[in-house]
């Protein structure tokens, strides 16, 4: 079974808050010193899901597409090291400054360019902006059935059985192929690449595709094609006030705490 996984490179979500800075004037996130960007953790899980589908079906390929700057190649290489077969890098100045819509548009064109596979997999959302829309937009653009926020994926002959994480439990559905899936963190940890695979991945060529290669005009994508307008980007500040409830005995302290909570209308 052939799978394509779309992955995004993001600033490491484990960057300590103290090192996270934004340029409010340019409305951009500043890269933290000494901390490399990483593949979005949900996307690494999407690659893991794809590899398991390939293993379970016994044949097929897992190909990776990523849209992003030069460094996005590392996210593709990471996926290749995990065991994916080929990588495609959508790299063009025209793509810069885009939003979920332009990204989905470029990705869907790339998927058509490569041929629509049996399964298309995304992470449930990129762990930087957390919008969680690209997968669904691609499904609409390609007119494919989709299931989002999945904790389990199982091959079932020609169809696929998935389990969605919903507010009050899990929802199990069967989908025909081809289809679009987005993977949630409940799916499980992605594999750690073996050193030999890391070295093989390092040697593997990643195919670069530009907007023109995909038949897209520069005005359709990137900042030019964006449907979202950003008005401000800032780091919220939060002021914390601490009140220590005094008291000679634990009972007094507890009574003081209850009174304070009542005053604050929490109780």
């Amino acid at each position: 079974m052939d799978v394509i996984v779309c992955v995004k490179q993001i600033p490491d979500p484990e960057t300590p808050a103290a090192a996270f800075k934004v340029d409010e004037a340019a409305m951009q996130v500043l890269p933290a010193q000494g901390i490399s960007p990483v593949i979005s953790p949900f996307d690494a899980q999407a690659v893991e899901a794809a590899l398991r589908i390939k293993d379970a079906s016994g044949d097929g390929t897992v190909n990776i597409i990523s849209l992003g700057p030069d460094s996005a190649r590392d996210a593709i290489k990471h996926s290749l090291a995990m065991g994916a077969d080929e990588g495609y890098h959508l790299k063009d100045e025209a793509f810069e400054g885009g939003d979920a819509w332009t990204t989905a548009l470029a990705l869907s064109r790339a998927i058509q360019h490569l041929g629509v596979p049996d399964v298309l997999i995304f992470g449930r959302q990129a762990a930087d902006w957390d919008q969680g829309t690209v997968g669904s937009i691609v499904a609409e653009l390609l007119d494919l059935p989709s299931a989002t926020v999945l904790r389990a994926v199982e091959l079932n002959g020609e169809s696929i059985t998935v389990s969605r994480v919903v507010a009050d439990g899990f929802e199990n559905i069967d989908l025909p192929t081809p289809c679009v899936l987005t993977i949630s963190n409940e799916f499980g940890d992605p594999r750690y690449p073996q050193l030999r695979q890391i070295m093989q991945a390092a040697r593997k060529q990643v195919t670069e595709l530009t907007a023109a290669d995909l038949g897209l005009d520069a005005s359709d994508v990137g900042a030019a094609g964006s449907r979202v307008q950003m008005h401000a980007l800032f780091q919220p500040t939060s002021d914390v006030e601490v009140e220590i409830i005094e008291g000679d005995t634990p009972e007094e302290k507890a009574a003081g705490l209850v009174n304070a909570l009542r005053e604050a209308k929490i109780l």
Binding site: D12, E14, T15, P16, A17, A18, A19, Q33, G34, I35, S36, V38, D189, R191, Y192, P193, Q194, L195, R196, I198, M199
Partner: protein
């Protein structure tokens, strides 16, 4: 103060003669005094007796059969060893085995002291004396027998008169010493079983055989005295006291019958001796030869140094997953193990009831080498593929040796330090970890998380809220930026920067250096991990990437220069820089903060004259500072110079110090087993009655803090054990006005 400072500390330590080994050796000398006394007095006495001698091969016909057997015996032994050596030779040759002998004097010294002198065996008083009894008895009895043969074949008779009687006495007494040794060894297995004890048929065969030889020897002697000496020259027989007593026991037996019994026992004794000695080629008795050889072969580099995988990108495999991936020396030393269990008795994981016993690692690998190694040798001989017919074998890593055992190792080196036959367990364990991580990518989640954080963020502290420079917030102007002009680079390291408790120590060290006007600087914001955690966790490739990156930074900033010295905050950084970075092209000198502080105190640049509260302190040795790098005294001498401080020791200290539990990457792992290593160590510290525990390693500090949380859960906060870095205590005593605000 540079690398030579490390050596001087070692030298001082050696002269202080505090190691257990030396104390036991000293005890062993008086133990032999009575024996020497007896021999002296007896020697004087023998002068009064003349003409004493005995007939060689008394009452024995066809003794030439023995000489016929001798070449067979030697052949059988050599066959056994050569056959086994084919399994050893499955491994990769090391530089040493290619004939490239480094540090020959050190090796020869080890061969003589550690091999012949059984230095390490003597560290345990009971088994040390036991072993000494058996060994000296065997050597003396061998020489005695050889002398008798020589005497027979040279025209001059040496063994006559007083010389003969002295000779008889020595032989008799050492026979007795041998019996005492064997009795102690048997009792050891019944009366004094150890946790790691694993007596097998081999033990009983060797001990039973030896006991049988000694007893039959005395029976033969007794019968000879009974039949030929006691009635003719009774005063001669007094010089064979044990034989004399045995003769008296046979006094009711008719001479003719006694002669028959004598012949029978003589043959039992002689054929028994030749059979027993063949065990040399087939059992752990081979340690007679292999242990001194292993003492010679043991690496002479610092014990905490791991071997580098050179040209890692061109390797066919990473680490060790098959027997033949080991070096020859690693396979060889499996056969050296005598199962004494000292490694396991000293292993922090085993002490805490966790799933690791270094002895079982070695023994299980030995069994595997026997089963699978022999098959591989046979495959080679028959021209088959090395692994022909071995597809269904339990895998060595993950099967014979369980993953959790490999992960439980702290690389603390207590096993290596304890091993009387010089086995190096730690590199063997790390080699198998390398295969788990790099070959199979199979590891606990916590290890994976640590490695990923190292890859992405250049430090192992996943989830830290801090940045590299958080520790200097508010005192930035007091922390000089490294310019390349200063004498010392203060390498804060990841823990000193990213862990709040360790940040306090970093600030203490800075405060002390400013107080003493040390010319130092810090590479702000640009430091990265030197790779130690990755290397200990088995990810040699990541280690090399991190090390290359850091050396590049050191090159760019002028640190990598023979004239520059890096002060490390952490003993793990210290060990890596000092012992492992030279392989990566490092030229700079390395010093640990306790060494620098001791030097500053000695020079009077730091004066610890401020009153600190009166307290007793127990010093906990960091493995990577102490056992791995011989720095035991510098931190203690600092503590001794702080007024109002009384230093007391835990029972396990210095070379025998117990790991805090964090080593070998276990700082970032979940422990599995009955208890936690840090709790065991905290209990030991609490048991001394000390007010505080001092150490010099940021990992140890954290492990102690968390151990105290559980061990002293019900103790009032004020009465709990305090945990301090040596630098913090010195700061309290030597930086009086805190003018630097840190």
């Amino acid at each position: 103060m540079t690398k030579s400072a490390v050596k001087s500390d070692t030298a001082k330590r050696k002269t202080s003669a505090t190691s257990t080994g030396k104390r036991v050796s000293a005890l062993a000398i008086p133990a032999w005094l009575p024996l020497g006394g007896i021999l002296l007095v007896s020697g004087a006495e023998t002068v009064r007796v003349t003409g004493a001698h005995r007939e060689l091969f008394f009452n024995i016909d066809h003794f030439w059969v023995l000489y016929m057997l001798l070449p067979f015996v030697i052949g059988i032994i050599i066959y056994g060893l050569v056959r086994r050596s084919r399994v050893w030779r499955l491994g990769k040759p090391t530089a040493l085995l290619k004939g490239n002998f480094d540090n020959l004097p050190v090796r020869l010294g080890r061969l003589i002291k550690g091999g012949g002198g059984t230095e390490r065996v003597l560290r345990d008083p009971y088994s040390g004396v036991m072993h000494l009894c058996i060994m000296t008895s065997m050597i003396v009895l061998f020489l005695v027998t050889a002398l008798l043969a020589i005497d027979d074949y040279i025209p001059v008779d040496i063994l006559v008169g007083p010389r003969y009687l002295g000779y008889s006495l020595v032989a008799d007494l050492f026979g007795l010493v041998g019996i005492i040794g064997v009795a102690m060894a048997v009792a050891h297995r019944w009366v004094r079983p150890r946790t790691a004890w694993l007596p097998t048929w081999e033990d009983w065969l060797i001990l039973g055989g030896l006991g049988m030889l000694l007893v039959t020897g005395f029976i033969v002697e007794g019968l000879r005295i009974h039949t030929s000496e006691i009635n003719v020259n009774p005063e001669w027989s007094y010089w064979s006291p044990v034989g004399y007593i045995v003769a008296l026991m046979f006094s009711g037996v008719k001479i003719s019958a006694a002669l028959d019994i004598h012949t029978t026992f003589w043959w039992i004794h002689m054929v028994g001796a030749l059979s027993w000695i063949t065990l040399l080629g087939y059992s752990k008795l081979n340690h007679l030869v292999l242990a001194p050889a292993n003492a010679f072969l043991k690496r002479t580099s610092a014990p905490g140094k791991l071997d580098m995988i050179v040209n890692i990108e061109e390797q066919e495999h990473f680490g060790v997953s098959q027997l033949e991936h080991f070096t020859m020396k690693q396979i060889f030393e499996l056969d050296v193990c005598v199962r004494c269990g000292r490694c396991t008795d000293n292993c922090p994981a085993d002490i805490a009831g966790q799933p690791l016993s270094p002895m079982h690692i070695i023994q299980d690998l030995k069994s595997y080498a026997t089963a699978v190694g022999e098959q591989k040798v046979a495959n080679l001989v028959q021209g088959n593929d090395l692994n022909f017919g071995l597809d269904d074998e339990t895998p060595m890593v993950g099967g014979v040796i369980r993953d959790e055992s490999l992960w439980a190792c702290r690389t603390c080196g207590a096993c290596v330090e304890a091993c009387p036959v010089f086995i190096e367990h730690v590199p063997t364990i790390v080699d198998m970890r390398r295969s788990l991580v790099m070959e199979e990518a199979r590891m606990p989640d916590t290890v994976q998380g640590t490695l990923e954080t190292l890859e992405r963020q250049g430090h192992p502290w996943r989830g830290t809220p801090y940045t590299r420079d958080s520790w200097m917030e508010g005192i930035e102007d007091q922390v000089p930026e490294w310019t390349g002009e200063q004498d010392y680079l203060y390498f804060v390291g990841c823990t000193g920067a990213f862990v709040d408790r360790a940040q306090e120590i970093t600030r203490s060290v800075v405060s002390l250096m400013r107080e003493a006007d040390v010319s130092f600087g810090v590479i702000k914001g640009m430091e990265s991990c030197n790779g130690d955690p990755a290397r200990r966790l088995g990810h040699e490739y990541l280690y090399q990437i991190l090390a290359e990156g850091l050396i590049e930074l050191f090159n760019e900033t002028g640190v990598n220069d023979e004239q520059k010295t890096v002060i490390t905050h952490c003993p793990h950084c210290f060990n890596t820089f000092l012992n492992e970075y030279p392989d990566m092209g490092a030229k700079f000198q390395v010093i640990h903060h306790t060494q620098l502080l001791e030097q500053l105190v000695n020079e009077g640049r730091l004066v610890p004259n401020a009153e600190v509260p009166e307290q007793t302190i127990t010093y906990h040795d960091s493995c990577y500072l102490g056992r791995h790098n011989d720095i035991f005294e510098a931190p203690r001498r600092i503590l001794e110079q702080v007024p109002n401080v009384t230093l007391i020791e835990m029972p396990r200290n210095r070379e025998q110090g117990l790991c805090c539990g964090a080593g070998g990457g276990n700082m970032w792992m979940e422990e599995q087993g009955k208890s936690r290593v840090n709790e065991v160590r905290v209990e030991e510290a609490v048991a001394t009655g000390a007010d505080s525990a001092c150490t010099a390693c940021p990992f140890c500090i954290q492990m102690f803090d968390s151990g105290i949380g559980t061990v002293q859960l019900d103790v009032e906060d004020d009465d709990k054990l305090k945990v301090l870095d040596v630098a913090e205590l010195l700061q309290a005593a030597a930086v009086s006005d805190r003018q630097h605000g840190v």
